[in-house]
């Protein structure tokens, strides 16, 4: 199910499409989200669902959402993500 801005509120869990590879520790994954500039980081593997990483909505903005990413992100854990990269279900 794709995320719709109007139905989304602060605090909701959403899933961000990302490129997922192995992390440095056996219990973690590395993710890279194709925003501009891209953001990447390491998360525990229970925050990753297929090609999506779990995030929490921190702000709703005009062209998407600002979400808080879990784990250790290389730039910042709050990023603006376009709606096209977001869904409200891990398997959507």
């Amino acid at each position: 199910m794709q995320t719709s801005k109007t139905k989304t509120k602060i605090g909701d869990v959403v899933y961000v499409t990302a490129k997922i590879t192995n992390g440095m520790f056996p219990s973690e994954k590395y993710f890279r989200v194709a925003t501009n500039p891209p953001i990447a980081g390491y998360v525990t593997d229970n925050q990753v669902f297929g090609n999506k990483v779990r995030a929490i909505v921190a702000e709703v903005v005009r062209d998407g959402l600002i979400v808080a990413l879990p784990g250790e992100a290389s730039r910042n854990n709050l990023i603006r993500v376009p709606l096209s990269l977001l869904s409200q279900r891990a398997n959507a």
Binding site: K9, I10, G11, D12, V13, K19, T21, N22, G23, M24, F25, P26, S27, E28, Y30, R32, P38, A40, Y42, V43, T44, N46, Q47, R54, I56, V57, A58, A68, P70, G71, E72, A73, S74, N76, N77, L78
Partner: protein, 185 residues
């Protein structure tokens, strides 16, 4: 910065949480002592290898992981670098940031626990990665899963975010753990 009473209150209210849980003895005057975990990662040497860590890369072929049993001895030789983790997985809400720092008693023997990356953003969930380096001249040994190795310092962010965001960040992220968080108070 949160002092002892603030830290105790935040912990008892479940605003910050730890898995496994900490004991009150780990809460000191203005920080929380955390223990060394049991998983360690060594960066393997490869002749001619160049990586671009700021780009997407899969490091799994270039590292060697070791998991020690509880109480197993982790040794860090002089000028050696390894990654480790805190035993505790921490959960921070949206209104608290943190810094991880070493302890002076260990630093005197040459131990550094982070390589210029002490900051932990609000909403962080997981074990804290330690960039362990031995600046000294002696082999250093630690008991994995037992020894206190670093301290967590918590900071309140200046403008409080919405309550729903604080609630989500202090609670949601631990939900899929095999062992649910125990909340006190």
């Amino acid at each position: 910065m949160l002092a002892r009473q603030d830290l105790l209150r935040a912990w008892k209210r479940g605003e910050i949480s730890f898995q496994p849980n900490i004991s009150p003895d780990q809460i000191s005057l203005s920080s929380i002592d955390l223990r060394l975990g049991r998983i360690f990662t060594k960066l393997k040497a490869h002749k001619g290898l160049v990586v671009r860590p700021a780009q997407a890369f899969d490091p799994s072929n270039f590292v060697k992981n070791t998991t020690l049993p509880p109480g197993g001895i982790f040794k860090l030789r002089p000028k050696e670098f390894q990654l480790g983790q805190t035993l505790e997985r921490i959960t921070l809400p949206a209104n608290l940031a943190a810094h991880i720092h070493g302890r002076s008693s260990l630093a005197r023997s040459g131990l550094a626990v982070h390589a210029t990356a002490p900051h932990i953003h609000p909403g962080f969930y997981g074990p804290i990665t330690l960039e362990l380096f031995n600046y000294g001249e002696w082999d250093l040994e630690f008991s994995a899963g037992k020894d206190v190795i670093c301290q967590l310092i918590l900071w309140e962010v200046k403008t409080p975010p919405q309550k729903s965001l604080i609630k989500s960040m202090s609670g949601y992220r631990g939900q899929e753990e095999p062992f649910p968080k125990k909340r006190k108070g």
